[in-house]
Symmetry: C2
Subunit: 203 residues, 2 copies
DNA sequence: GGATCATATGGTACGCTGTACGAACTGTCA
DNA sequence: TGACAGTTCGTACAGCGTACCATATGATCC
């Protein structure tokens, strides 16, 4: 049931996930779903939990930076595979997978030589970047063709003399591959990691 | 009408904003709203535009870092005043206020001595942090009493030996004032700004 | 003054949503 | 065979956005 719900959301976005659609997909009556879950929110929580579970956790007893980086990159990729999940990350209740993720990242930071205070803030800085960046990516069309159309319409409406830098920015997006987009994610990530490294009190 | 819609969302969250509620608040018939807007999305776009318009823009011809920082802090505060807006930031269409904001920030970075490429990535790193962080803050209850209850329930269910670092993290949240939360935002922001400063090619 | 017209209002109805309630079916054990 | 727990789901209701259409209001012209 969670798998079917995730498929539905992956295919048609989160708004395609209605109890009626889900029941049809599973070939059962709508109300049968309510024998297994209390309400739709419980399904959403379960879906988010499954997605978070796909994220590679940092391995303990390794160099903190490489491991935190690896898990952040994995989180980014995972959320891109399920773009609806980024939006729900905060509104869904924290399931066991989320707890395990937080514990693993926090532990890696603490063992890497960060004070409780810095680890706390570092965690939020990393999470903010991962989710904020992925939300941005998820909001722009995937195929470069759609993107081209969109940007063309956009640029056509912009007075070039009033928005020179914005236009420059959009043109950069136009020439961007998905690899470039990954690198843009890692740019911000490394900015944060570099800064953290610098304020570390070695273990 | 946009003002009433924003009030409604500020008071009861975005789900309190229905066409019927809005019409009741304005003491008009529901369908009268459609004389002024094509659909509900147009209202949402307008609301987001108004919120973005509240953000202080970086002033041109000043030191880039202080100005970018000022505008990021202002964006953060503004989004906290309208927590529903953070979620809509990406899904809403880009209105004139957003364009002006992007142009101003990008311009400040470019004039501050960043290449087009770095400015591009810096912009997204900053935006990700602002929106990601604010979304997180918006998802936790505001009054410290509610927070205490929530955390107490949370900690009660957590096996202390399995989640030592997570528990440490939650306890830190418990002792946190809204000033601390502002400082946590600025922690991540300065991490990014420091990193940018370091890779700047002075103008 | 009466007719014409654009501007503005809103009632009714349709198809969608989540889900409360209660009826009905199925299989197991006494 | 009767009872009972486990499971299925049809019906109905309140809420949603909005298409369609009838009406009211006020200005303009003959």
């Amino acid at each position: 049931m969670l798998a079917a719900a995730i498929d539905l959301a992956d295919e048609g976005g989160i708004e395609a996930l209605s109890m009626r659609n889900l029941a049809r997909r599973l070939e059962v009556g709508v109300m049968s779903l309510y024998y297994y879950v209390a309400d739709k929110d419980e399904i959403i929580d379960g879906m988010v939990n499954r997605v978070v579970d796909e994220i590679d956790l940092p391995r303990p007893d390794r160099e903190w930076r490489a491991e935190v980086r690896r898990s952040a990159v994995s989180a980014h990729r995972t959320l891109l595979r399920h773009p609806w999940a980024a939006n729900l990350m905060f509104s869904a209740g924290e399931g066991p997978a989320r707890l395990a993720y937080m514990e693993a990242v926090l532990g890696t930071l603490r063992r890497g030589g960060f004070s409780a205070d810095i680890a706390h803030r570092a965690y939020h800085a990393l999470d903010s970047h991962i989710i904020g960046f992925t939300l941005w990516e998820a909001s722009i069309p995937f195929t470069s063709e759609e993107l081209g159309d969109l940007a063309a319409a956009f640029l056509g409406n912009l007075p070039a003399d009033r928005y020179p830098y914005l236009i420059e920015h959009i043109e950069q997006h136009l020439g961007e591959s998905s690899d470039d987009s990954d690198r843009a994610f890692e740019f911000g990530l490394d900015l944060i990691l570099d800064g953290l490294e610098r304020m570390r009190t070695p273990a």
